[in-house]
């Protein structure tokens, strides 16, 4: 299938679904607030709302732009729409997309890879929604049954273990790049601990991509 046909068959409907669902989600985000207003008569002061918006945007505002930009080349078009609606990108969407590609032995960067990672991410979303919905009903009861060290351990160390595992999986494939992928952000944190997160993530992702480009051009020259 050539690029033009793939655009029509895949990208156009992907954009349509993505745009529609994400912008509808914006609307749906405020439904609970509307309920508080109508059913409970809660009136919020407009000035305080703006103030709070400003405060939270100071913390996360840069991430609204930096995260889609940094994760895009990993997630692809449909993967980005799904991941930025459903969240849990580093600990859930990226690992599931990567494992789906790995197990089906699909070459990354191809049309087939887009299809496979999309299905992998969708699978993770289904399990995710089942998980949180179960938790809403029986969560508190389940936690009471589990021993405290298990609860504490899973809470504290699941994310670090997953992040480490994903790094390990890709480090086997690109050992030279792995040095820079981890080296750049760790060096920044050690040298300038106050550097904001959005700068560290950009430096890590785009710095490693730049190094990869150098390797790629060098290899192309040799060949």
């Amino acid at each position: 299938m050539d690029k033009k046909e793939f655009d029509i068959v895949w990208k156009m409907p992907v954009n349509k679904i993505g745009r529609f669902t994400l912008l509808l989600a914006v609307l749906f985000s405020f439904l609970p607030l509307g309920y508080l207003y109508i059913a409970e008569g809660v009136r919020l002061d407009f000035g305080t709302m703006l103030k709070s918006w400003g405060m939270i945007a100071t913390v996360f505002g840069a991430m609204y732009i930096v995260e889609p930009l940094s994760f895009y080349s990993i997630l692809g078009l449909s993967g980005t729409y799904m991941s930025f609606l459903a969240g849990n990108i580093g600990n859930l969407r990226l690992p599931c997309a990567a494992m789906a590609l790995e197990i089906t032995e699909t070459e990354p960067g191809t049309h087939e890879a887009e299809v496979v990672s999309t299905i992998g991410i969708a699978g993770s979303i289904i399990v995710n929604i089942i998980g949180v919905t179960l938790c809403a009903f029986i969560g508190a009861a389940v936690i009471k049954v589990l021993p405290q060290p298990v609860v504490d351990g899973l809470k504290a160390f699941t994310a670090p273990a997953i992040f480490g595992a994903m790094f390990g999986q890709f480090a086997i494939k690109y050992p030279k790049l792995a040095i820079f992928g981890l080296g750049i952000p760790v060096a920044i944190r050690l040298v300038a601990p106050k550097t904001p997160a959005y700068i560290i993530i950009m430096a890590a992702v785009f710095g490693t991509i730049a190094i990869a480009r150098l390797f790629h051009t060098a290899a192309a020259k040799k060949a």
Binding site: V14, G18, L22, S29, I56, F60, S70, G123, A156, T208
Partner: protein
């Protein structure tokens, strides 16, 4: 949360309101799966590959979702069941939502979850979580297609380079996600190292002993369990 506020926050109304977004997430996933299967057919990919991808996505998700489950119980206690359910179904992980809920109360000069945390403060927490999540939703909803154009320009249809670019971006992204835990040391560092070494070790095992390749799709779960276990035992 006072009993009166908790009663409102856990009422049937908020559950209903929250269900819209949860259903929307499911609908989007189903629409994309349908489109993916249709496109796979046109790309002459086998149905088995698609079904395998779906299965792998689901199996790989189990470990991380158990962790989300446990974290959500804590979140339910402080922001109520319906909002915890809704917020953890969409963008914004638990720490992000907690920050937003706290900031909302702070803007009002009220301590989050404190004695004067009334319905207005609850409303401010809900507002701040919603408007914060919308930052990502709006950016991606409006500009994702431009990012695709950008990627096409950067990659120039060179599949080999695009593969390498994806690998580099992944290593950079997880390098960043790991960097905080590496620098902080202790149990976090142990979890990172164990997770990474397990994946490397398993990778070698699949190469050397092809019969073990069947377990490949459980790799992440195995690495996660060992990482958490050693971090708890050694720290």
């Amino acid at each position: 949360m006072s009993p009166e506020v908790a009663k409102v926050a856990n009422g049937i109304g908020p559950w209903l309101m929250a269900s819209f977004i949860v259903m929307l997430v499911v609908v989007q996933a189903v629409l994309y799966v349908k489109l993916a299967y249709k496109t796979a057919d046109k790309l002459k990919m086998s149905k088995e590959v698609c079904s395998k991808a779906l299965q792998v996505g689901m199996v790989t998700a189990i470990g991380p979702v158990i962790a989300i489950f446990i974290i959500m119980v804590g979140l339910m206690a402080v922001i109520g069941g319906p909002m915890a359910w809704m917020r953890l179904s969409i963008i914004g992980a638990a720490p992000t939502e907690l920050t937003a809920a706290t900031v909302g109360a702070q803007a009002l000069g009220v301590e989050f979850g404190g004695a004067d945390y009334d319905l207005t403060a609850l409303g401010m927490s809900w507002w701040t979580m919603a408007i914060n999540g919308c930052g990502w939703l709006i950016m991606v909803g409006l500009f994702a297609s431009q990012l695709e154009t950008l990627r096409e320009k950067v990659s120039g249809n060179d599949t080999r380079w695009l593969g390498l670019l994806t690998g580099a971006a992944t290593l950079g992204a997880f390098g960043y996600l790991n960097s905080g835990n590496v620098v902080s040391g202790g149990g976090n560092l142990i979890a990172v190292l164990t997770g990474a070494l397990m994946m490397v070790g398993l990778g070698f095992m699949y190469e050397k002993v092809p019969a073990t390749k069947k377990m490949k799709e459980y790799s992440l779960g195995i690495a996660m369990i060992f990482g958490v276990f050693l971090a708890v035992v050694l720290s």
